[in-house]
């Protein structure tokens, strides 16, 4: 098996394993850049996966057909934004400890999603959707030598959407007034306040965006890979997304890199067993590689002061 074949196998797998993490981490980026810790990403992903599947099923039932999962993605993002309001209200208005509130979100999302699943379907998992978002070859581009098989063959369109979103988010965060304000709120809310930026409003918007993106991440995973929803659809990906966010130093491009890195490690851990060289490594080392490498990377090269300064603290007007 030549190197090209290995790459053609691993790279697309890395991309589609990484995309849900990247999307969710972008969500975390909004909220943490605005100063609100979001350990509830896991819960947001769960809500997205659940809504993504349920609305696809519902749309299919209504005869929408192949467009169902796409519309479902949008619905999931909207519902996710609303669901994130829990976290927003608790941690911004009610001044809850943001970590605690995030933990509550995780419990709530899983409990509610499974509760509703049982209510709607009478058992612990939903039906399978018929109209998944399937992989396709991108017409024309997949023929390009070298690049084609790696990036344009057998790919989910959602991956390109995610990639585009990375750059959109990058632009918004660093090149728009909204982004400037968002960052100022996470760095020095009082300064932002004195400059007429409505701190709490910005934070609400940021947390809701994190809900939208987190849910989108979960929904993309659900409608491309898992095809149904159950308690085991999202297990730990949200925490991984948090790691991606920190690893990516709260920067959209960093998130992209970190997400692909995790995706690659994950792809290798399953694909490796059938690849030359990797098959000689005990599978457990491939399995734990992403986590070990993250720790090493955090220790070695990722500086410590990248976190937004005001992160984790509720903003109370006039407090000193």
């Amino acid at each position: 098996m030549d190197i090209m074949q290995v790459l053609a196998l691993v790279i697309p797998a890395a991309i589609y394993a990484g995309v849900p993490l990247i999307l969710t981490a972008l969500g975390g980026l909004f909220s943490e850049r605005a100063g609100v810790v979001n350990i509830g990403l896991e819960g947001l992903m769960i809500s997205g996966a659940f809504i993504g599947i349920v609305s696809t099923l519902w749309l299919e039932g209504a005869g929408v057909g192949a467009a169902s999962p796409w519309i479902a993605l949008i619905i999931a993002a909207i519902v996710g934004a609303l669901f994130a309001l829990f976290h927003a209200v608790a941690s911004i208005s009610f001044r809850a400890d943001q970590i605690v509130s995030g933990v509550a979100i995780n419990f709530l999302a899983l409990g509610l999603a499974i509760f509703l699943t049982r209510l709607f379907f009478g058992r612990g998992q939903t039906d399978y959707i018929q109209n998944r978002i399937f992989r396709t070859n991108v017409a024309g581009l997949s023929e390009i030598p070298f690049i084609g098989p790696l990036f344009f063959s057998n790919a989910y369109v959602t991956s390109y959407v995610a990639l585009a979103l990375v750059f959109v988010v990058y632009y918004v965060i660093f090149y728009t007034p909204f982004g400037l304000r968002l960052r100022s709120v996470g760095e020095h809310p009082m300064a932002a306040d004195t400059m007429g930026v409505n701190v709490n409003k910005m934070r609400y918007v940021a947390v809701m965006l994190s809900g939208a993106f987190g849910a989108l991440g979960g929904a993309v995973f659900a409608v491309t890979v898992s095809g149904n929803f159950s308690a085991t659809t999202i297990v730990g990906q949200g925490f991984m997304a948090l790691a991606v966010l920190i690893f990516g130093r709260w920067n959209p491009l960093g998130v992209l890199g970190a997400g692909l890195f995790f995706g690659l490690a994950q792809a290798l851990s399953t694909t490796g067993a059938q690849l030359p060289f990797f098959s000689e490594i005990h599978p457990v080392f491939l399995l734990i590689a992403p986590y070990v490498l993250t720790i090493i990377a955090l220790t070695g090269f990722v500086g410590k002061n990248a976190a937004p300064k005001a992160i984790g603290k509720p903003y109370i007007k006039g407090s000193r």
Binding site: R123, Q125, R132, V225, Q274
Partner: protein, 348 residues
Amino acid sequence: AGNDDNGTSTGDGDGGTAETSDFTVGMVTDAGGIDDKSFNESSWNGIKDFGEKFNLTEGTNYSYVQSGSIPDFEPNLRGLVREGKELVFGVGFLMEDAMRTVASQNEDAQLAIIDMVVMNEETGEPFENVAHMTFEEHEGSFLVGVVAALESETDQVGFIGGMDSDLIKKFENGFKAGAKAVNPDIEIAVQYVGDFNDATTAQQIANTMYSQGADIIYHAAGGSGNGLITEAINRARNGENVWAIGVDQDQYEDGIYDGEKSVMLTSMVKRVDVAVADVAERTMNGDFPGGEILVYGLEENGVGIADSTQNLSDGIEDQVNEYRDSILSGDVEVPMTDEEYEEYLNGL
């Protein structure tokens, strides 16, 4: 003590069931749940068939409890026993320990376990209050192995297992033996997911196998198998000529894409439903097969190849039937373990 009443009190709810029997049967699923498209579902279908046949009410006479994870098995089994269910099924070999504990604590209970023989360590015999239901999966797997080898155009096939265990090894070795019987040079990729409920990993494994040239993959991975089907559909939609082989039930429906086509070449059916209904009926009639090791093989129609044959090439069924006959006649001894498989290969 208060709890013993509860089992019956739930039954008080609906009146007017004079004709129906008041036999009660319960079932504990493993983490897969009753729509895992695999043996949990199959077992439940068996109970439902039984219930319908005898006009029993779901919820009152027959019900199931879903386990979230292995630690739930024991309390769930015990819960049903405590409720006073007259027969309690534990679905899957993973329930061995839980079944052993519950069986030894409740000598009067009537229990049944699928895919396992639970030994009573004190007597060295299978538990007397448990019906031990096993299947000759290797035999059925042999047949789909034959199909795979006959249908493969690349002479490469794959097998995806759920958890690396004695039970799933039976599937693997049977399949490999069948494929080699047809084509001794065929390449067979084998990988285990490590979980019966991780479709994502299974999909990546399938992706790799297909990419490496396998065109037919058989799975014995419960819920994880859905990952294989997803991957096959993904590829088939893009015009690739790939197939999947299902397990436990006829999975033809699960492989449908583009409206009418299906990626399921065939399935190795394991008639857990028939076996479950059989044990339930015997128990209701006072013939609880406690202590017996019930074996369901080709002969008993406990395993076999699925009814859906749309995707099979002409003449395949006949060839399969020839192999079936030689297994039944004892001409072919299908290997179950790795050692037996090695021997089998040497004997080819």
